[in-house]
Subunit: 403 residues, 2 copies
Amino acid sequence: MDAADPLAGKREAFWLPDGVIYLDGNSLGALPRRVMARMRRAVEEEWGNGLVRSWTDAGWYPAPQRAGAAIARLAGAKPEEVIVCDSTSVNLFKALVAALRLQPERKVVVSERGNFPTDLYVNEGVAELMDVELRCAEPGDIETAIRAAGSDLALVQLTHVNYRSGLVHDMARITRLAHQQGALAIWDLSHSTGTLPVELNACGVDFAVGCGYKYLNGGPGAPGFIYVATQHLPSFRQPIQGWHGHASPFAFDHDYTPHPGVDRMLVGTAPQLSLIALEEALAVFDDVDMTQLRAKGSALGECFIRLVDQELAGQGFSLASPREAALRGSQVSLTHPEGYAIMQALIARGVIGDFRAPDVLRFGFAGLYLRYVEVWDAVAVLKEVMSSRAWDRPAFKAWKAVT
Amino acid sequence: MDAADPLAGKREAFWLPDGVIYLDGNSLGALPRRVMARMRRAVEEEWGNGLVRSWTDAGWYPAPQRAGAAIARLAGAKPEEVIVCDSTSVNLFKALVAALRLQPERKVVVSERGNFPTDLYVNEGVAELMDVELRCAEPGDIETAIRAAGSDLALVQLTHVNYRSGLVHDMARITRLAHQQGALAIWDLSHSTGTLPVELNACGVDFAVGCGYKYLNGGPGAPGFIYVATQHLPSFRQPIQGWHGHASPFAFDHDYTPHPGVDRMLVGTAPQLSLIALEEALAVFDDVDMTQLRAKGSALGECFIRLVDQELAGQGFSLASPREAALRGSQVSLTHPEGYAIMQALIARGVIGDFRAPDVLRFGFAGLYLRYVEVWDAVAVLKEVMSSRAWDRPAFKAWKAVT
């Protein structure tokens, strides 16, 4: 399978340490090699020698727009609809308030239980601030909840791929359903951009946000991004009015005149070193066919599930992800009562996945840098951990928070 | 003066390019040498080799708290009152909403015309969102405006050192006056932390925000910081409820339980590469006596003003900063009708200050790395630029935005 993999050559674009099988690119993407040289230049030449001149001379200032355009290509959006800024959570806050302001008479937001926690927390906070009602549907009941809200529905906010199970929502269908109620749809693409083809324009999505440090490989805590559909660009109003969202940030006017485009989602000065790493990492995608990447991510997951079925039957694992590849993002989750300790034992052996309380072992399959043989090897290590009870040690059972 | 300078040795802690006199540390601080090695390690070892494990193994996760504690020492605050996160503008938004929620019956915010633009813009946005009235006093009338608002006054929001003139507000006096009306005070420390002794606790300040990339030398767009006085820690509520502000971010609860401390000002994942640069840069301050640093910053400014008076009389410059050192931060601003072109000519000669529309030339005096002789040399270059009319070239007169 590796010999036939059209993306096999991409692995060389990444630095991966010896002795590690990295199945956590859904949490923190691996380091693209080109970022190493770029960061040295950014720190030592651009900051060190260029100093403040680099805001113009090194092109720092328009980096949010450039990185936004690169992400737009991966997300089925126009370059002028996407900009990189702030964290995903801050961006979601801005998008939610902006969407509510577009239809102030509507007072219900629908999300789902099991949405990524920060999405729920931000929704809760916005609901209180804007005096609207947040309804969290049970995962299977989202369409019923949308229909039930009827003309009270202001917006639907969901994450495209569930962080825990990997379940992929039908973005086109749910967005259409929201629109049928006269409402808007806001999608969080944190677990999909950079690994699935995302079609924001084709699905008619109104607003979207996403993360730079997972499948986009932008580095730890890379800035997030935000998308505003063209039809909302003239009218949206976001609440955090910072100078970088001003029509002329360096005119130093006393009054806020919002930038006419998506740029008014900007607030303060971008964390430029983190942003430079993200922008450089995005260049890895320049020649990537997202359909090919999606196919490889699915196949890696298929391979993993098949091997777990075959090698680990009766060991107490359950599949917590959809078995059907089309419904599953680039991750496979297993549950096990000793999940935390098992994951620690795997990590100690160089097989890096992650754990989500209370019992989920997550394995991410980033097709840009993983080989099929690594899936085979990872399952072999897991089998050894189970047969030797290597996980059953106090050091592995002591809970330590892991992002 | 350089021979007698107790801080002279600190210059060695910074990388400064040959042929440059850097008088713009108030916009982007110079590169601390130790940051170069630290950033290589962060990118190549911690991200590249450590991958997701570095959130715990490399101590990434508690960096906002560590950097906050380092800033607290420079700002006269307790370590548990300050945390690093987001941009200054986003932090100001959170602080303003939190302060208004502490006294919802009060409906007036007082700021001043001439406050840094993003402060005004964020205030405007919050005033609309929270349905309060923003009153911008003329600079000299701030105390009158505070008294006039009386029991309607919710809060006063000012910047400690004015970005344009360098005027230092009397933080203790204005905060006391706000408190006398039963209101709160929020200070923006962007142009003071790291160059003046700031005494948040002694002045009784309620909330404060500030910038990591100016006198703190944290790198372009370094994250900002936020301070919440101990007495408000139990009760404040900020509107952007992200997972990193949760009491247990990695429990992945469905409901938001705010962290009991200043940590609930956190929102999303920190831009870790930018944060690491800032944290490393702060270590330069470990053995710095802020009173000595303030004295040097003042003396450099004195020296500059004296030389401008002496060497540039009749050339059309006016001093736009207070002449009295105690009222002036670590910058001196001059106005000149051809200010933009003159600054471009200076920069072309390696004397880097900046320009603020319409006519202000700003010169910053960062005492950690500047020598007195550089002030002398800078004025000599300015004199040459004026006597040769070197500024009078189309290339220097074409406006280009500069941060």
